[in-house]
Symmetry: C2
Subunit: 314 residues, 2 copies
């Protein structure tokens, strides 16, 4: 699993930060890319990465402010033009369907794939054998959802020596044991999967929130998560503005991370008022409350591997 | 008057060319900027220029394909945020109002200025004392308009020696004569404006067309223009595709320029299939038919001054 930030700014694009978009790259987990929010020029940002638009399998929209959705119609169209033929699922608040359908109709955009629009409410909005996605409402000036992505426990590794020792011949029976199935050998003996596999491994949990003031549901969505992606539009000195506009300070983000006992916090949605030279100060303000803190830049990549998050360098 | 290209690509953004947008900068003529088409990330392109979004006074949309309009909602919102408080007029085909109003409503975008949407038909769509804008339908796969912008004749310069010689005292009377008014002196003599001013100067005419196959209305719109901005999505070898998709080759663009007897042709809307190394070949193909030909790159600027067009270098 890898997280790649495509836009880490707030409200409007600047030369340094585009409007919101972050890719949860689940290629290694067999799920393609899941995109969270899609500000204007997200497809342009993708041009500067190795990502392929046709591999975007799902898009999750936190809320319907323009800086979170104005890149959707262009990306949807380009995904088709660039060979995307697998269905695309888009999740988001009420109103998303009307806007997208109106836009596609008026621009006469024809797609070579099935577009499925899901207008969501709080709760489990997606579940398959590997993942579960849960949403809750946050506290913003318009309806806004946060997303919690839970990977289900992974089967334990096959202990091959143990299996062979138990008399299992090399071949398809090993694969079945690895996949959790108990098998009967030629001599009638039953070998249980759990006898020849290691303990199941815990999956990861990532919470990716939208625009929000500090709120309980942010803490709940992030509870015990490995990674929390949380907005930090303002610093401690501009906390009054944060409240007024339904946003968070870097301190609010760190407090949520702290109370939710997450492993790592990545702050995004950084106001253009902060120059690159201000970022160190922002970071210090957050670290006082929650030390394992990163502030994302556009194109920043984070990998989750063997239970740890590492920031990738290009 | 200056033309600045913000997007010169076709269909989708590439690293080298953004989707369509070109600014007709009429600041010197007192009309602000007139923007023609507004592909996604036009506001991002503006960040790399000295243009100010609040100075955009009018936007003319040729047609409702996404690569010509997906930058509109973001730019409209940012113009407000960046201090724009003068009314903004947007002209375009039927459907523009529904799309923009739906988009602004669903994203709850509030503007600090009056937005006036004009759904146009063929004919004179705008006229004031200095300019006239005329449209005609082009030949594309959806309704598409070309725009002809005519500057009205400019008053001749005041011949100050002649005026003083005629007994006009320095002061406000000179200004009135300069503005075309006849005046009566204290001694009762009438001085006619035309006696003390030079000949009226011709205004310029610029035709900025949208996506189109070769068609008579393109030639009519461009007839006798000083500058023609015409799409050239394809080269001579891919002319069959041009016809199929309602586009032009560089040869079609040059033929329109030739038949309309324009002074200069600027080709835009260049397919991403053409690498920078192919542009010279495209240019040669066009120049065989019409020699005064430029192929625009993103950020290319052209100035119209003293009856001549010059390409500005940065
Ligand atoms: Zn927002
Ligand atoms: Zn088009």
């Amino acid at each position: 699993m890898e997280l790649q930030f495509l836009g880490t700014g707030a409200g409007m694009p600047s030369k340094l930060r585009n409007t919101s978009a972050v890719v949860l790259n689940l290629s290694a987990e067999g799920e393609g890319y899941w995109l969270f929010d899609c500000g204007e020029a997200t497809q342009h940002q993708i041009l500067h990465t190795s990502l392929k638009p046709r591999k975007i399998a799902k898009i999750f929209i936190t809320h319907l402010h323009g800086d979170h959705i104005f890149g959707l119609p262009g990306l949807i169209g380009s995904r088709s033009f660039l060979g995307g033929d697998e269905p695309l699922d888009i999740y988001g608040p009420l109103g998303l369907r009307e806007w997208l359908e109106t836009t596609l109709r008026i621009t006469q955009t024809h797609l070579n794939y099935t577009l499925r629009i899901h207008e969501i409410e709080e709760g489990v909005i997606f579940e398959d054998e590997n993942f579960r996605v849960i949403t809750q409402s946050l506290r913003h000036v318009i309806p806004c959802y946060g997303y919690r992505v839970e990977q289900k426990p992974l089967l334990g590794k096959l202990l091959i020596d143990k299996a062979v020792g138990a008399g299992v011949p090399k071949g398809p029976l090993l694969k079945r044991l690895k996949d959790g199935e108990d098998v009967t050998l030629d001599d009638g003996r039953v070998v249980l999967s759990k006898e020849v596999t290691g303990a199941p491994q815990e999956g990861f949990t990532v919470a990716i929130l939208g625009d929000t003031s500090y709120c309980d549901s942010a803490v709940e969505l992030a509870s015990g998560a490995d990674i929390l992606v949380h907005e930090a539009t303002f610093d401690l000195e501009t906390g009054n503005l944060a409240k007024e506009y339904g946003h968070s300070t870097i301190g609010d983000a760190a407090s949520v991370a702290n109370e939710a006992r997450v492993e790592a916090l990545i702050a995004n949605h950084i106001s253009a008022r902060f120059m690159p030279s201000d970022i160190a100060k922002l970071k210090v303000q957050g670290e006082t409350i929650f030390p394992t803190l990163h502030i994302a830049e556009d194109f920043a990549r984070f990998e989750w591997k063997d239970g740890e998050m590492i920031r990738l360098e290009d």
